[in-house]
């Protein structure tokens, strides 16, 4: 797509409005200033024809670590404002992860790269094209000698074909994939086990017993949303009468998967393999006899092995990406031995496209250091920041005369590139990608590029001298065979994917069981180990400039705006460390300084540092924030290593946490039971209630309205991923307040996800609890407001009238659940023009000095009312879906009319495990909870 805007480094209001005017939804409207050149197709369920003021939804695809996530993007008059999951997409099933939610903010991020840069100075695409033409002539003659291309993980068939074409044209050129948070070990494991590169796919919905070996499959970048859904379904006591899934986890640092486990072992990362081997022995997989496990662990393994053995064909062993290939091979071998192959796990041919010659980053770096390279194309990757530190990639970049960097941001790599080319955002470009199961997902632009960005396809076409340069045409050409006619193409675009394009299960044969894996004590045994893991909210660092993600409390630490070295309570005690103490972490001669966070459930000798922080050039939200864990990342110890030295300094750093107390203090906000106990005595959940029946009242009952909205949150399903928090933020125009305000306890999230611990700090039980407004029928907040700024409507909503609020804050003091949020300062950013375009026009932007809180997405209820009134019918159950409900991968949140006994929410509220928070206060909340249940192995002690 040709550039819509003239060469200019400054994006002004006029151009911005022009871009808006030319947005895709207006494509059919004649007379618009800059309509895009192509036609895109709305999602099939959306109303036909644009109605001013009504949002339209378009199916498209977002990529995370290269893998496709199908989404529907809400468009208000051509402005993408909100992302929902695509119900028809296998990786989404209607839900999304936090990154998909944040992608809309990234689109409107004013820090995005806006123009072509030549050695840091503003240039234009024409100048670059001319410069490239002269280089291309040289490559034409040399066959591309000295040309190297570096990309992230690629699953896009179009891009893969383009790259293949380029490499055909320039046989001397080479292509290298660098993904800092990758699944290389999994792939190597399949190669080891099956002598083939394959992609494993979990069928958690079929599993009854799951063992996660250092595997956080619920947060898997490619399939976490789907896995979380399947897991929650397998765990539901209502759906799985009598036989819900039981999850065992062995992990070094607490993850959401570990927090969901019924039995969890906190074990150093390097000792996980020992567990696997002992398990192999128990399962009779030809294991050597030596047994190094201490008796407690041995008992644990024995019980787990027996349990897995008892569920042959419906058990599953998952190994984490950080574990070595041999352990993956062993895991595959065990799954084969348990008869799980093609039942709870199967393998497809590799979803990713890889360089045919396995040209690796280390090879590239060596060549670069050697000085023989002429041109390096860095396509949507940032090796200057995230390459292993021992490759000294920045040095290497200096030795390449022509570095061309294409990316969304002028980042650390762009800083060392002669050319920086702005890439189009995912919502601005045509593309495609494969989902975790291989399903081909199509991406269509929702808005013409705001700046001078072009898509990777367009860029590659340009570089390869392709005769087709238009993004849509490139993708269309790729699928011409599969979708020969316009009708099928349109249908695919409507659905966001090509139907039945998932890759079939591959027949596999075990070659190696991975038992060669080293489990003898290594040289570093006994020393501290460091675990380098992607950050839970900003991933490998590419999301670092997202205010939403920075301020989203990290699921298990509740930290915002930075990372910390997670240490076990025992290590903290022995090193006299407390939260915020700055330590020096030294690994292999390299040292970083990081504040400490004491992490219950952390393995004793493991220190965890999350990747993604310490960005040097990423935007105003990211720069100089947190600690750069890549500074400790070596090529041969990507995920951590033993031999860490820790030294306490006198320095302290105030970390910004949103929660400061993690014990339940006997107040049971999260009520729990075992599955067995609950089946025996369902009433035990509410046994302690003061008012088991309807609580008494001095006041006459209020006449019920047409509907009685209510919510039920299933704590047994909730994995604590916090997608609800960020979806709510996107839907309801919730401002970002910054680290300093978070430290002062002024975060604004309308639905927070609390985390509680129960049991010993070495390995506690961990609970997550989303807390929106409880919509109390006897609302304490309303009683104390002197100006009627918070009142009830006839349908039971506890309303907040921003216009009327004078800001006494008595309502918050009197809210026992503390769900109210106050604009202590002017938090809304009214200066950034692009952020204005992001906001949901259905939701008021709040001023300083007013209280705000969850409204049950009243704007969505109002929309449903209008639609129902137009058709002269009642609102159907499921017609109103709150933002938190929609995004939830595990469908833990149910919302609807509690007066209708057949509604989903009424059914949930009728369950014996339904309870409300602080019921003894007689506030009569409309938001209730379903108790968390644990599926304990009777052979194992409840830890």
């Amino acid at each position: 797509m040709p550039s819509l805007t003239p060469a200019s480094s400054v994006f002004n209001r006029r151009e911005f409005l022009q871009s808006l005017g030319g947005s895709v939804a207006m494509a059919a409207v004649a007379g618009c200033s800059h309509p895009p050149q192509t036609q895109i197709v709305p999602y099939r369920r959306a109303p036909i024809g644009q109605v001013d003021g009504l949002p339209r939804f378009f199916a498209t695809t977002l990529k995370r670590s290269g893998y496709a996530h199908g989404v529907l993007v809400e468009n208000h008059m051509g402005r993408p404002t909100k992302v929902e999951g695509n119900p028809g997409h296998p990786a989404s099933l209607g839900a999304t992860d936090i990154f998909a939610q944040a992608s809309v903010l990234q689109l409107w991020d004013a820090d995005r790269s806006q123009t072509v840069l030549q050695s840091g100075d503003t240039a234009s695409w024409e100048v670059f094209e001319n410069a490239w033409l002269s280089r291309a002539r040289q490559f034409d003659s040399t066959g591309g000698a000295g040309l190297r291309i570096l990309t992230g993980t690629i699953t896009s068939p179009t891009l893969a074909a383009q790259l293949a074409g380029l490499l055909r044209k320039y046989p001397q050129a080479r292509w290298c994939v660098h993904e800092p948070v990758n699944t290389d070990n999994v792939r190597a494991g399949t190669e080891l086990a099956f002598a083939m590169r394959l992609s494993p796919r979990l069928r958690l919905d079929r599993a009854k017993r799951v063992l996660a070996l250092d595997a956080d499959f619920l947060c898997d970048p490619a399939a976490g949303v789907r896995y979380a859904h399947d897991f929650a379904m397998a765990r539901s006591p209502e759906l799985q009468a009598g036989s819900p899934v039981r999850l065992y986890a062995v992990e070094s640092t607490p993850t959401l998967t570990g927090a969901m486990a019924d039995h969890r072992l906190a074990l150093e990362s390097r000792r996980v393999a020992g567990i696997a081997r002992a398990l192999a022995k128990q399962l009779g997989v030809n294991a050597p006899s030596e047994n190094t496990l201490e008796p407690g662990l041995a008992r644990w393994v024995k019980a787990v092995a027996a349990d897995l053995q008892g569920h042959r064909g419906e058990s599953l062993i998952v190994v984490g990406a950080a574990q070595p290939p041999q352990l993956h091979a062993l895991g595959f071998a065990l799954n084969v031995a348990l008869g799980n192959l093609n039942r709870t796990v199967d393998f497809s041919e590799l979803v990713e496209s890889r360089p045919p010659d396995d040209y690796a980053l280390a090879d590239l770096a060596a060549e670069m250091h050697g000085g023989g390279l002429d041109t390096l194309l860095v396509l949507d990757a940032n090796p200057a920041y995230d390459a292993p530190v021992d490759l000294m990639f920045v040095e290497a970049l200096r030795r390449v005369p022509h570095v061309v960097h294409a990316g969304l941001y002028v980042d650390e790599t762009a800083e060392h590139a002669q050319w920086h080319l702005p890439l189009a955002h995912a919502f601005e470009a045509w593309s495609d990608a494969r989902a975790f199961d291989g399903t081909v997902s199509l991406a269509q632009p929702l808005i013409a590029p705001l700046y001078q960005g072009r898509s990777t396809h367009e860029l590659l076409a340009l570089l390869a001298g392709d005769d087709v340069l238009d993004g849509r045409a490139l993708v269309r050409r790729q699928w011409q065979a599969a979708l020969p006619d316009e009708a099928s193409w349109t249908a695919a675009l409507e659905g966001g994917l090509i139907a039945d394009s998932s890759l079939p299960a591959h027949t596999v044969e075990l070659h190696d069981n991975g038992l060669s894996i080293q489990t003898q004590p290594g040289p570093g045994e006994g020393s501290l180990e460091i675990v380098l893991a992607p950050d839970p909210t900003i991933g490998d660092g590419q999301w670092a400039n997202s205010g939403w993600l920075q301020e989203l409390p990290k699921p298990l630490t509740q930290l915002t705006w930075g990372n910390a070295a997670l240490v076990s309570p025992a290590l903290a005690a022995s090193e006299a460390l407390s939260n915020g103490d700055v330590v020096e972490l030294t690994l292999a001669g390299r040292t970083v300084r990081a504040p400490v966070w004491v992490m219950p459930g952390q393995a004793h000798r493991t220190v965890t540092l999350h990747l993604g922080y310490g960005r040097r050039r990423a935007g105003h939200n990211a720069d100089a924030r947190g600690v750069d864990a890549y500074a400790l990342r070596n090529l041969h110890a990507l995920w951590g290593a033993s031999g860490l030295a820790i030294r306490k300094t006198t320095e302290r750093f105030e970390l910004a946490s949103t929660q400061h107390h993690f014990k339940m203090e006997g107040r049971d906000p999260v009520r729990t039971a075992t599955f067995a106990g609950y089946e025996r005595d369902p009433q035990q959940i509410r046994a302690g209630d003061v008012y088991p029946q309807k609580p008494p009242s001095l006041y006459p009952p209020v006449q019920p309205g047409e509907y009685a909205w209510g919510m039920s949150i299933d704590l047994n399903a909730c994995i604590g991923c916090k997608a609800c928090t960020i979806a709510c933020q996107a839907e309801n125009n919730i401002p970002v307040v910054g680290a300093d305000q978070v430290r002062r306890g002024r975060e604004m999230h309308w639905i927070r996800v609390d985390r509680y611990y129960e049991g010993p700090p070495e390995n506690p039980r961990t609970y997550s609890q989303p807390v929106p407004c409880m919509m109390c029928e006897h609302a304490p907040c309303e009683l104390v407001c002197p100006v009627d700024a918070t009142v009830h409507d006839s349908e039971g909503l506890n309303l907040q009238v921003y216009n009327r609020c004078v800001g006494t804050r008595f309502c918050s003091n009197n809210c026992p659940y503390k769900v109210r949020r106050f604009n202590f300062l002017k938090y809304v950013d009214t200066d950034a023009d692009t952020l204005k375009a992001q906001r949901n026009p259905e939701v008021t932007v709040r001023q300083r000095g007013v209280m705000e809180k969850c409204t049950y997405c009243i704007q969505r209820i109002a929309t449903a009312h209008i639609e129902a009134d137009k058709a002269d019918r009642r609102i159907r159950d499921g017609e109103v879906i709150t933002a938190c409900q929609a995004v939830c991968p595990t469908q833990a949140i149910r919302f609807g009319d509690t007066q209708d006994p057949g509604s989903q929410v009424s059914e949930a509220k009728a369950l014996a495990r339904h309870y409300v928070l602080l019921e003894e206060l007689n506030t009569r909340p409309r938001t209730g909870y379903l108790a968390r249940l644990r599926n304990l192995n009777p052979e194992l002690q409840d830890t």
Partner: protein
Amino acid sequence: MSQIGTASSATVSTWVSPQETATSVTQTIGAITLQRPFGWRWLAALVFAALLALLLTVGIGYLVATGVGIWGLNIPVAWAFAIADYVWWIAIGMGGTFISAALYLVRKPWRTSLNRYAEAMTVFAVSVSGLFPILHLGRPWFFYWLFPYPNVMNVWPQWRSSLEWDFFAIVAYLIVSILYWYIGMLPDLACLRDRAAAPGRARFYGLLALGWRGEARHWARFETLSRLLAGLAVPLVFSVHSMVALDFSEALVPGWHSTLFPPFFVAGALFSGFAMVMVLGIPMRHYLKLEAYITERHLANMAKLMLAVGLVVDYSYLADIFTSFYSMDRYEVAHTLNRLFGAYAWVFWCTILFNVLSIQLLWFRKTRASPAALMTISLGVLAGMWLERFMLIVTPLYEDFTPSAWGMYYPTAWDFAFLAGSIGLFLVLYLVFVRLLPVVSMFELRKLLHQLRERKDSASRSSSSDVPGRAARSHFKLPDSMASCGVLAEFDSADALRHAVGSVRRQMPQAQLEAYSPFPVEGLADSLGTYRDRIAPWMLLGAAAGGLGTLALECYAAGWNYPLNVGGRPPVSWPAFLPPAIEMTVLIAAVFGVWAMLRANALPRLRHPLFELVPFERASADRFFLWLPTAPAQFDEPLALLGTLSPLRLTEVSA
């Protein structure tokens, strides 16, 4: 005399030095405002206070421009310093009202020297306190939304909120306090008007005095109003501090939700109020040389009162702790343990040190006799009471029901700036008051001295002399515009005036007499003939209108005009509607009373023929006058009659 009926003369004599006379009282106290040059100490204190007040002004500007986020507030601790400041200041006000009103009602003579500055303290403290609830709002410029006013949106306040009740309470308290203080000052303002040498000052005090002349019937209505206002002010302060307490106990927050709070807050208010009376009085009596009026016995009495209410406060601490453990309520117990041992436990223990332990010294006569010790203890009590409010507000909030929401509160520099600045503003007001207005009620002191003499005289009748002396005679011609003529007799004592009134009434029953005195003389108005005093009925009418009217407005607004579901309560929640009605009962009654008094006394009347007469200016100080309006042709008879009554001077007035 009823006021000293129960006290022996020996007791009374120690409330004011026996050498004092009406003349010396006027001289000494009047001189503070009229003559004493500005001392460097006063100036230094004013500059210091003004700088603090400037800090407050800057703070307010920054606050309004930026938001309450400049303070350390957060969720869960959404109230902290500013609300502690508010409660602290409004409580300090209560001590003044108690002294001026409650002790007046029970006729304690020793209040006489204290009530003026104590009441001034009340007015300033309440004014300063009133700033905080407004500044504390997220949007302070909309504070008037708490006031019910007709508007096209049919939007009304929410009458069930204790903040709404408190809004009415503060407004009523402030207005009634100002009225009570100001009306009580009229005779003294008149005195200063008559003493002021500089015309500008005379005009200033003249305007403020509203033309007060000290006529006997005016005094009678004035006294009626004072009694009734005092009778209203006492329940008002008790209700105001109950409302302040309800700002907390209406909530369900453990540590706030307590029926103990209203009496507890009233006791605490008295406690800190008395401490502030002490803190202001001890330096003032020293620097302004008021030892003759504010004696050590006054201080000792204040100390006893402070100890008494302090013990009530201490009992409340105990009761609060006992109740929470007795209830066995999980949240109450947790809160109490937090108070004793939690993150802010040091605040509690400081409170115990200042409010419980230090006041035990007051059991000893020696401590009570030492102004330095009393000053130290009182300053400690003021600090302790502020800390107590901080404890009561923050400790329940920082850890309440939901553990995940628990969080600490840390004050910012601006939190401290507003506290210091409010003290500065209060001191500025008080220092200006000391220079501008009489710090001791002169007319009440004169009355006290009169009563003291009267008892002495009745004990030794022999000292009174009945020998008629020769009265000085003078003529005075009024400007033509003042068509007023008659005879003015000047006497040196209330007895002489009363005697003269009796004689003239017997001899000339038709005469329209007017008697003027520098303090209210018992029975004088009645002896002048019947007069109308309809202040009480007017106040009853005002009370009914205020109370029933407010209740009617509340029911109309909440039940009929725009009914809303508030917390599942019925639209007409009449029990919750009572507090504003009670406050308005008092407020409107007080306003009606003041209006009725002024109207019956035909005030304000800044120009009056008698003001033209040179000797009359002592009517506001130490002389007693009888005015007998007579046509110039008939001057002889009254002159003859009055001449027999041993006046100091007789003045013939003609136009």
